[in-house]
């Protein structure tokens, strides 16, 4: 059995994380969250924003799924009513981290661009901390002691590189 020694930690800086897992009160909190300026410009021009800002009844969803949902429903609505270029702003989707809103650019009913016009902002995330808001980043300057790690994240390891990788050592240690 190979002995694995990771060179680890002499100084430890602990950065406690403010990690915004939503609670069931998310709707209320999110509704009061201020909105950041659009990331990719394009202020929603003359589009029929159907902004029925959903309330707490919406289950928190992953932001990617939310974007997809917004995009899908908006596209459907737009296709029926527009024949030339336009922009359509989707409903606000409540995510674990706050409201997300997607804007579509359409030409003859086809999507030509997708932009996100509303993201949850930092304050919103801070407010939404609940009791298991935990992740901690431990930044370790290395010396000789076990890092006590379960897995390794690094630039993609190919099968060839794997043999020399730390993950390989971890896998061998427990097989």
């Amino acid at each position: 059995m190979k002995r694995i020694s990771y060179w680890v930690l002499s100084t430890i800086t602990t950065v406690v994380l403010l990690f915004g897992y939503h609670t069931s009160t998310s709707g209320v909190l999110a509704a009061s969250t201020s909105v950041q300026t659009p990331i990719s410009g394009a202020a929603s021009s003359g589009s029929s924003s159907s902004g029925s800002s959903s309330s707490g009844s919406n289950p928190p969803t992953d932001s990617t799924e939310s974007s997809g949902t917004s995009a899908g429903s908006s596209a459907g609505a737009a296709a029926g009513t527009t024949s030339t270029s336009s922009t359509v702003t989707g409903d606000v989707a409540q995510t674990r981290w706050g409201p997300v809103q997607v804007e579509l650019s359409l030409a003859s009913g086809k999507i030509t661009d997708v932009s996100v016009v509303q993201y949850p902002n930092e304050n919103g995330r801070d407010i939404e901390i609940n009791s298991y808001a935990l992740p901690v980043l431990i930044q370790e300057t290395l010396s000789a002691q076990s890092a006590n790690i379960d897995m390794v994240s690094g630039a993609t390891v190919t099968s060839d590189g794997y043999l020399t990788s730390l993950q390989s050592a971890l896998d061998q240690a427990n097989l």
């Binding site: 990331i39 932001s63 897995m151 390794v152 990788s165």
Partner: protein, 255 residues
């Protein structure tokens, strides 16, 4: 807090090692083995559909114009839609199209397929009650803890300058962790807008709710270079650990 007693499994799929750490009720059980088999089968299926190294994959045939998107398995359209959102969100820093040797655009969705495929494969493992798992594909992973008293998975972040060292430990209960950098494969990441190899950071690690999100954002941030921290700060639910070529580290999203 309970002590971990891990079961480890490794297999090679998609040209990279797939590593599983399993702990809890279904570690070392037939049902745990079955879930692992299903996860591996799911990854092999993704490889058969999406591999750009296989001339007969749906994506290779799509790229050559032999078939249309409608002829592909439905997940191809799903992944390309995810890629389109990622391209927009990253202002073009992430793109599944790149210039080929003859200057024509080549479809290469591998930058988004891995995260998506591992998220999908992890579903089989999520079905295991009271069982925690970490499923890694070549250093990018899905972590899940099903038991309230389990410790967080401790994810070591490799030093991009020396793969035998760990720069930080990220405790993750649930989420995806991905690192982009050039350490093991040389200059395989290019800025899709310019073709240049990014150099501002040696590696970027992103923690997000899903590995799909983490992987795409790590790649985009790596390409964005000096603009990465400001961009990441606007991404919902992302936390990032960035390493400069001289070893200096930066974080975003950690309070």
């Amino acid at each position: 807090m309970i002590e971990r007693r891990l079961e480890r499994k490794v297999v090679q799929v998609m040209g990279m090692p797939i590593s599983l750490a399993l702990d809890g009720l279904h570690a070392r059980t037939a049902r745990g083995q079955q879930a692992w088999d299903e996860a591996v089968a799911s990854l092999r299926e993704a490889d058969a559909v999406f591999s750009t190294y296989r001339a007969d994959s749906a994506v290779s045939r799509l790229g050559r114009g032999e078939i249309t998107l409608a002829d592909c398995p439905s997940e191809v359209a799903d992944v390309l839609a995810l890629a389109a959102v990622a391209r927009t969100d990253s202002h073009g820093a992430f793109d599944v199209r790149r210039p080929g040797p003859d200057g024509r655009l080549v479809l290469d969705p591998s930058g988004i397929v891995k995260g998506w495929a591992v998220d999908r494969a992890a579903r089989a493992l999520r079905q295991l009650p009271e069982t925690d798992f970490a499923l890694s594909a070549g250093g990018d992973m899905v972590c899940a803890t099903a038991r309230p008293d389990s410790p967080a998975w401790r994810v070591g972040i490799e030093d991009p300058r020396d793969a035998s060292r760990i720069l930080a430990v990220l405790p993750v209960r649930n989420g995806g962790v991905a690192t982009s950098g050039l350490a093991h494969r040389g200059a395989h990441i290019a800025d899709p807008r310019t073709g240049a190899t990014p150099a501002a950071y040696a590696s970027v690690t992103v923690l997000a709710g899903t590995l799909t999100d983490a992987d795409v954002d790590a790649t985009a941030a790596f390409v964005l270079g000096d603009d990465a921290p400001a961009w990441l700060a606007h991404r919902p639910g992302r936390h990032a650990f960035l390493v400069r070529p001289d070893g200096t580290t930066e974080t975003t999203g950690f309070g």
